[in-house]
Amino acid sequence: MSDQTTCGVPAGEEMLRVKDLETQFRVDEGVVRAVNGVSYSLREREIIGIVGESGCGKSVSQLSIMQLLQRPGKIVGGEVWFEGQNLLEYGPKSAEMRAIRGGKISMIFQEPMTSLNPVLTIGRQLTESLELHLGMNKKEARARATQLLDLVGIPSPASRLDDYPHQFSGGMRQRVMIAIGVACQPKMVIADEPTTALDCTTQAQLLELMLSTIDACKGSLVLVTHNLGVVARYSQRIYIMYAGKIVEQGLCRDIFYRPRHPYTVGLLKSVPRLDEVRGHRLVPIVGTPPNLIDLPPTCAFYPRCSERTERCLTEPWPDLTAADGEGHLVRCYNPAERTGE
């Protein structure tokens, strides 16, 4: 059990600031603006949630920060300030970037099966980053790896170090991923849909585990997910993404109790809730998420929006403007009425 739901509690100093990040994929049909001017920040020991549907650019934005994009993806603009340094000035293969990846910032992926190397033992994969980033010798690294596996709840860790990924179950592999993720005591962990492929109870197990291990190494967490429940439980601030842009951002409570963007409002009304009463009807968002190829400069949510007006079609997508509440910003000409609790 845990009481880590810390909505609304301000965290420490700002450690990451992403400014106007733009990432594009050039394909034959045109340009996919997967990340289209995204800015956000993360403070020390803070947990933020980046929420959106598949293809909204939430994962690509995180891969961009780590400079782990694969062709034809390309960062075309923006800055990523981390510890007083713009990371985008380093090349993706530079020594500086390698030191940051896995050392100071680590990433936990959705697919534990494909993100572990099947031909290397778990021990090798764990000790590799320990030796690389912390300069440990083989013996020290192995001792630390055993300790890490124990930390994430893998029984008889010392003997399991010599096993290969296929000898672990899905949940166990995800635990190993967490162990690798926190191995070097990173300042910041990016968890990209870390538990989506898993069952409810395993999900719960692992989220709690992830939170406590990150907490133990005093790190911050970026939780990338489509699950509104998970961010409601764990994150302090939330960014809602749609079609490559952040459409609303704010404190957890502001987003859930005073949502202003029609998309956020729609999302909240369209998911069934465990605590709802029977007979309640879901209000779906009509239509389908847009094709990101050569999107017009106007609001991409327009075709599905319930609050649209003439203006949305003639003027470009508005900037994020202040709504009520600390740091509560919304990108809409017709934000929903301010509502009380």
């Binding site: 429940g229 409570r253 809730r273 968002i285 389908t288």
Partner: protein, 345 residues
């Protein structure tokens, strides 16, 4: 542990009292074979003694984690698998052992919606042809005109324009494809539809469209009975009249959604409920999580006694040897747990 639950005044489940489906001690074992001669070395006990009753017009939710056997139950009911043991009574007729030839006419009466909207439609068939296939197979229409008429009404029912009929599956979005799958399931005018995770492959904002569609179809036809299989408890709770919680091939608890949420009795149900996050920070802050230890045991070698005892926080010595059966504990509430004293009802 709760000894006697307060009997909640559950709203009467919709539908008539007539039983459409009764499943008795259903078992489905998949043999594990080895070697050239296909020697049987063991069984995957996917479903291991499942019993329930379903009233006409009712929606039963089957919920559980992967490998609990919920999909297998669904596939046994529409005879995609031939059960190893047990009986399935559909409208008073035993169908589990019928030869395929005799069961085939019933296939228009029991249909299934699959999880994967990309894999369940033939990529080389047009949408119209896919939806019309049951009509052609069972010769349910007499003329080309009637066929077209039926197709149009089916497309209208699931909210697709009829000018989309000549298009191929790859030209549709995930939600639209699932609508095509639903239209195909409706084509034979079935009285029972097995919905096997119909929304879990869809985007969050699309799920509600499909859930509403399924509920509207039920509104329009009071006799339509659903078995709704899903791992997402929130979705199951939203659509079901009763919910059966499955674990390792058995039903551990079966009751109404209100009762399940307000008064879960089986330790597994409670853990499952606590694992689901509600999109509401204040409620989340007040909910405690029960984190289960360990992992689901293998269905090849399920634990003796209560299959949940290896992870149960309240396990007693007796749980290791005795298999609990479903016992009535309240109004429309049955639990299979040795720690529960029967009563109520």
């Amino acid at each position: 542990m709760t000894s006697l639950p307060n009997v909640a005044q559950a709203p009467a489940a919709t539908g008539s009292d007539e039983t459409i489906l009764e499943v008795q001690d259903l078992k489905m074992y998949f043999p594990i074979t080895r070697g050239l001669l296909k020697r049987r070395v063991g069984d995957i006990k996917a479903v291991d003694g499942v019993s329930f009753k379903l009233r006409k017009g009712e929606t039963l939710g089957l919920v559980g984690e992967s490998g609990c056997g919920k999909t297998t139950v669904g596939r046994c009911l529409c005879r995609l698998y031939k059960p190893t043991a047990g009986q399935i009574w559909f409208n008073g007729k035993e169908i589990s052992s019928l030869p395929e030839k005799e069961f085939r006419p019933l296939r228009s009466d029991i249909s299934i919606i699959f999880q994967d909207p990309y894999g369940s439609l033939d990529p080389r068939q047009t949408a119209g042809s896919i939806v019309g296939e049951p009509l052609r197979i069972h010769k349910l229409v007499k003329s080309k005109a009637e066929y077209n008429e039926r197709l149009e009404s089916l497309f209208a029912k699931v909210g697709l324009a009829s000018n989309l009929m000549p298009r191929y599956p790859h030209e549709f979005s995930g939600g639209q494809r699932q609508r095509i799958g639903i239209a195909r399931a409706l084509a034979g005018d079935p009285s029972l539809i097995i919905c096997d995770e119909p929304v879990s492959a869809l985007d969050v904002s699309i799920q509600a469209q499909i859930i509403n569609l399924l509920m509207d179809l039920r509104e329009g036809q009071s006799e339509l009975t659903y078995i709704f299989i899903a791992h997402d408890l929130s979705v199951v709770k939203h659509i079901s009249d009763r919910i059966a919680v499955m674990y390792l091939g058995r039903i551990l608890e079966i009751t109404t959604p209100e009762e399940l949420y307000a008064n879960p009795i089986h330790p597994y149900t409670r853990a499952l409920l606590s694992a689901v996050c509600v999109p509401d920070p204040d409620i989340e802050a007040s909910r405690a999580r029960i984190v289960l230890e360990g992992e689901v045991p293998s269905p090849v070698n399920p634990p003796a006694g209560c299959s949940f005892h290896t992870r149960c926080p309240d396990a007693m010595p007796a749980c290791r040897t005795t298999v609990p059966t479903l016992k009535q504990v309240g109004n429309d509430h049955e639990v299979a747990c040795l720690a529960v004293t029967p009563g109520g009802g």
